[in-house]
Every structure is written in C-alpha cells, then in structure tokens.
C-alpha cells in the first residue's frame, strides 16, 4: 500500500535519455571525434615508438636522474631512486609498456592543464561560473571512473585515445579547483594594489594573481598527474597500451607475480613523477 506512493511516478527514463544524448552527440560530432581519434592515435603511437622508445633506455634513465638531481636541490636521493626504479622496470622487461604509460599520462596531464587552468580562472572571476561548475566537478570526481569508459568507447572506440579521454575527465578537476582556490587566496591587499595602480584585468591576472597562485596551481597539477596515472589501469580495460594492460591481463589469468611486477612499475613511475613535480613547486 505504502509502496504505491513511491510507485506513483513510473520509472524515469534516465538511462535511455543518457544513451540518447550520447548517441546524438556521437552522430553530431563524429566529424570531430573521427579525426581526433585518428590523428591522436597516430601521434601517440609515433611519440611512443619513434620518440620515447628511440631513446636508448640508458640515456633515458640518466636524463631522468639528472632532472631529479637538479629539481630536488642537488640531492642524490631522488636521482638514485630514479636510476634503481627505472632499471628495475627495464630489468623486468616492461620498458615498452612503461613508455606507453608515460605517453598516456603526459598527454592526459597536459590536456588537463590546458583545459583546467582557464576554467579555474573563469571560476575565480565569476560567481555564476563558480556556482555552475562546482557541482559538475563534484560529479566528475565522484562518478566511478569506469563509467567514463562507456562514452569514451562510444566516441573514440577502443585504444589509447578513449583512454586519454577518460583520464581527462577524471583528472582535470583538481587543476580547476586549485587554480580557482589559488587565485581567490591572493591577498586582498595585493589585488587592491594592482587595481590602485591602474592595472587592466589581464595585467592583474598575469602579473599578480597567477604568479601568486602558482604554488597552489602546481599542487593541483601534481594531483592531476597522479589521478591520470591512476587511470592507467582502468583505461587498459578499453585497450590502452601500457603497464595497466599487464596488470589487467594478470588479473584475468590470476597471476599474482606478473600482476605485482607491473603494479610495482606503476608505483615507481608514480613516485618519480610525484617527487619531481612537487620539487618543481618548492623552488629555491
């Protein structure tokens, strides 16, 4: 009896609606999605095979070690870890997978920053934009990451490109939030000083607000890179190459050992990227 109250409204066609929207989007924008898929795929293959893998692993490892040495303020810890960690991945025969993962993470992160920073600036400047975008960001971050794979496949079929797309949705919010926060945190007196001397909006943004917000924005970017890396395994479910695919296939075959090795590779990569980006933020 009571349940009939709940049943007063028939089941709403949310699922059908979403599907309809996705289909329509795919149809309408296929002229956009198709070339993106093709060119991006070609680019990623090229970048991995002909750039990253063309560099001899020894040189690559040493280059990372040198970068680590200098960004960490000429300390040997991180550099030593990079050498040992990367060598271990090479030793386990995962070098090619590592390079695919690097490509995926790099591309997803760079796109996240390119998209996220301007949105964050917009949010910091406009109350309306802030009110609209905040719940969208909440939605993007709480929706289980697997769900993004479905439209990603619908738009870009399988492979690296939908992997980037899914990572992008999952990893962009921290950059947006931290950019917004960073600019809002700039002390009122500095904003007043910029205004009082007659700065234009753009001058204020580029000469005062963004430099002042830099470390906060960098913290957001660091989070974005980490999230992009965490999407690597999930993205492998739709055919993205890399370390994640090894983890996935070991899961399917119940091989604990291989799964652990590939997982360890991701952890090593994560630590190196995290420490390098964090140290870049600290500065002298």
């Amino acid at each position: 009896m009571l349940n009939s109250i709940l049943g007063f409204v028939p089941k709403l066609p949310i699922a059908e609606g979403t599907e309809w929207v996705t289909d329509k989007t795919k149809e309408t924008f296929s002229f956009l999605f198709e070339p993106i898929k093709e060119y991006l795929n070609v680019f990623m293959e090229f970048f991995t095979e002909d750039v990253l893998l063309a560099i001899p692993p020894v040189i690559f490892i040493l280059a990372i070690a040198v970068i680590a040495f200098f960004v960490s303020g000429k300390k040997f810890g991180l550099a030593a870890f990079s050498i040992v960690g990367l060598w271990l991945i090479y030793n386990q025969g995962h070098w090619e997978n590592l390079m695919y993962t690097v490509t995926l993470v790099l591309l997803a992160s760079i796109l996240s920053v390119i998209i996220g920073v301007p949105i964050g600036i917009l949010m910091s400047k406009s109350k309306i934009a802030n009110a609209i975008i905040t719940p969208i960001l909440d939605f993007m971050q709480t929706m289980p990451a697997f769900v993004y794979l479905i439209p990603a496949v619908a738009f870009f079929s399988i492979g690296m490109v939908p992997g980037v797309f899914a990572s992008l949705i999952f990893a962009t919010p921290p950059t947006v939030r931290f950019t917004n926060l960073g600019i809002r945190q700039v002390s009122n007196e500095l904003v007043e000083a910029a205004d009082a001397f007659g700065s234009t909006g753009a001058q204020k943004l580029f000469k005062v607000e963004l430099p002042m917000a830099k470390s906060t924005i960098m913290a957001g970017i660091n989070q974005t890179v980490m999230l992009a890396l965490s999407m690597v395994v999930i993205a492998s479910m739709i055919g993205a190459k890399g370390l994640g695919r090894e983890v996935l296939s070991s899961l399917q075959r119940a091989e604990v050992g291989t799964g652990f090795v590939a997982g360890l590779g991701i952890v090593i990569l994560a630590i190196i990227i995290d420490r390098i980006t964090q140290n870049m933020n600290k500065k002298k």
């Binding site: 000083a193 205004d195 009082a196 005062v208 002042m212």
Partner: protein, 398 residues
C-alpha cells in the same frame, strides 16, 4: 583650486541600499539602519576638499569608515552616491578605462600591510606602476631607481620584499607610489604596522620628503599623535561621518563635540601647543621715551615686579625690576640704560610648550616670546599650567 573635492560621498554596504539611503537622509542612526534594512553604512555623506601640497589626515578608530573613505577616493570601493572630483574631474562618473588612466597618472596608494608583490624584486615592485603603462624598460628602471634612492633603498634593488624589514618594506611601498610621480598619495594606515620607533622615523622622513616634493597626501590613521604630527588639517571620523575638520590646534583646543573632546583629552598638549598659543600681551615701556618713574608707575598699576623694555620698533631690549627702578628714582638716575637687565629667557613663538617647562622653571621673570627680535608676548607659569589643564585662553588663530 582644490585638488580633491569630495561631496556628500556615501557608501552603504548591503542589498537594500535605496531604502538605507532614504533612512540616512531622514537622519536615522547607523544602528537603526542596520536593524531596518540589513545594510551597513560605511561612509555617511562625507564632504571635504584637499588643497595641493597639503597633508590631509583622516583619522578615526577602527570601524569609523576611514579605510572605506580612502578607497572611495580612488574607487577601489564603488560609492553609493556622492562625487569625487580629482582636478575637477568627477571620478564617480568615469568608465573603467578613464578611471584606470586617473589611477595611473594622478593617484598612488600606499598600503597598511605594504601590499608588495612577493614574487618581484624591490626594483620590479617599484617599477610596477610604470610597467603596466608600458613605459620602456630603461625609462621605468631609471625612475624606479630614483624613487628607491629617495627613500634610501638604492642598494636593495635585487632583493625580494621578504628579505627586508617592515620599515624597509614600507619604504618600497612608498617608492612604488612615488615612481609614478602622482599628484596625490593615498596612504592607508601606512605606518600602523611598524613598531613605534620606526614609525616615528618614517613620519619624520615623510615630512622631510614632503618639503621637497610638495605632493598632496591623504593620510589615514587611527593614531592621534600621528595625525597631529603629520596633518596640516585633520578630519576626524566617527560611525562613517566626519565629525570635525580642522588644523591640529583647532581640534585640540576647540573640539566640535564631546566625542572629539574625549578623543583628544589624553593628548600630550605640551607637544602640540607652542609659545604663541599661550603667551599674553606683554606690559612694556619704551626705552626711547620713558624713564624709571614711568616704569615704576606702570608696575604699580599692573601689580608687577618687573617690566619689559622695548625700543620704538618693539625690539626687545631687556627688563627692569621694581627694586632697581625705585633705587634709580631715589638716586635720581634718569636713564633706563643704567638699570636695564638682559638675562630674561627668550623663546621663539614656535617653541613647543614641552620645551618651555625647564626654561620657565628656572626663571624669575616671565619668559619672553619673540618673532624676529620683536617682542610679541610673555609667558607666565600660570598660563602654562592653565593650557595643560585645558583651561584658560589659548590663542588658536595666533
């Protein structure tokens, strides 16, 4: 012509500003308006004008609206109603680009917490105002360096603000404001964040700089001593309204109401009042005309034990005592020159009361006040005490 002319400038914070303005015109109080409309009255119909080269101090306690008022002058806060004329142009009616132009060329601001950009060097900070006007690099560097030299920081060009002490940081703030060569400096509690010794040093330097630069300065402070030291004129604010505008002496001596009176009662008046404020008209005799007999008669009439002697042009010559005059009369000496004494203490008319204490304490005769050698008044102990007690007559317009 006044360089800044503010007329009925009002700022109401909140949503229902129309209703609040209506109530304000009806003369309702700040509290009543807050209760009825939820709006806060920041500044209530402030009107004043500032003359070129003047240091105009706006002072009041926190919450009196002084910081809001200074931000209304350069429209960092949009006025609700009222006008701000800078060089005759109404700032309140300008569009954004005209406003920017005025801010760049005419108004510079110095902030309480310095407002320096921590990511820029001292030189780059001082350059900021010129940089955003796209002044060529060499020119702006030169001007910024000059401004930094002026405040004594010529050797710190490549340091960052965080490496400097508070006093030095505020010098940078001042240099940044001066580099634009503005007509008007708005200084919002510029020295309040500094410790007392440095604050006094900065006040002295500002006064020194002002004598050479002749800028127009609007100085905000909550410190009455600072206001009295710096201000050519002072506007005292309470609850968003200006209670009194006047010279430091006017405010001290003729407070407009109980609030001002209470405000100034703790002031060390001895540092503000000068000899000319408390001196009395001197009783004199003319050395060229009068002899001991006249001197003695005058003293008897006025009940004095000594009298000052001047020449025909009122140049102070000395004094004679009643004893000496009566001796002279007995011995039939006619010439005052023989009995005149010259050991009377003399101060300039601008000497602070504070500095007169010790002089008057050691002196048997009244202290004479001179202006370019001419006797203009005398000070007796009683008038010093009366002035400090806030009683007695004080000549403000002297």
């Amino acid at each position: 012509m006044s360089i800044i002319q503010v007329d009925k400038l009002t700022k109401v914070f909140g949503k229902n500003t129309k209703q609040a303005l209506k109530l304000l015109n009806e003369g309702k109080s700040k509290e009543a308006i807050l209760k009825e409309t939820g709006c806060t009255v920041g500044v209530n119909q402030a009107s004043f004008s500032v003359e070129p080269g003047e240091i105009f101090v706006i002072m009041g306690l926190s919450g009196s609206g002084k910081s809001t008022l200074v931000r209304l002058i350069n429209r960092l806060i949009e006025p609700t109603i009222g006008s701000i004329l800078i060089d005759g142009e109404d700032l309140s009616k300008m569009d954004q680009s005209a406003l920017r132009q005025v801010r760049r060329e005419k108004l510079s601001m110095v902030f309480q917490k310095f407002g320096l950009f921590p990511h820029r060097t001292i030189l780059k900070n001082a350059e900021y105002g010129l940089e955003i006007q796209n002044v060529p690099k060499e020119v702006r560097e030169k001007k910024a360096k000059e401004a930094l030299e002026l405040v004594g920081l010529g050797n710190y060009l490549e340091q960052y603000p965080g490496q400097l002490s508070g006093g030095m940081q505020q010098r940078v703030g001042l240099a940044r404001a001066l580099a634009n060569d503005p007509k008007v400096l708005l200084m919002d509690e510029a020295f309040s964040a500094l410790d007392p010794l440095i604050r006094k040093e900065m006040q002295d330097e500002l006064i020194d700089l002002q004598t050479t630069m002749q800028k127009t300065i609007v100085f905000i402070t909550h410190d009455l001593d600072e206001a009295l030291r710096l201000g050519d004129r002072i506007a005292l604010m309470k609850d968003g309204s200006i209670v009194q505008i006047g010279t430091p002496e006017e405010i001290l001596v003729h407070p407009a109401n109980d609030y001002v009176e209470k405000f100034v009662e703790d002031v060390d008046k001895s540092k503000v009042l000068t000899a000319q404020h408390i001196m009395k008209r001197p009783e004199t005799i003319n050395i060229e005309k009068h002899g001991p007999r006249v001197a003695l008669e005058r003293m008897r009439e006025e009940g004095l034990s000594s009298i000052f002697v001047v020449d025909g042009k009122r140049n102070l010559k000395g004094y004679i005592t009643a004893d000496d005059a009566s001796d002279a009369r007995k011995k039939d000496i006619r010439d005052l020159q023989q009995i005149i004494k010259t050991d009377m203490p003399t101060v300039d008319k601008d000497t602070a009361l504070h500095d007169i204490f010790s002089i008057i304490h050691d002196s048997q005769v009244p202290v004479t006040v001179v202006e370019e050698g001419k006797l203009v008044g005398v000070i007796v102990r009683g008038s010093v005490i009366a002035a400090l007690a806030g009683e007695g007559e004080v000549n403000v317009d002297a």
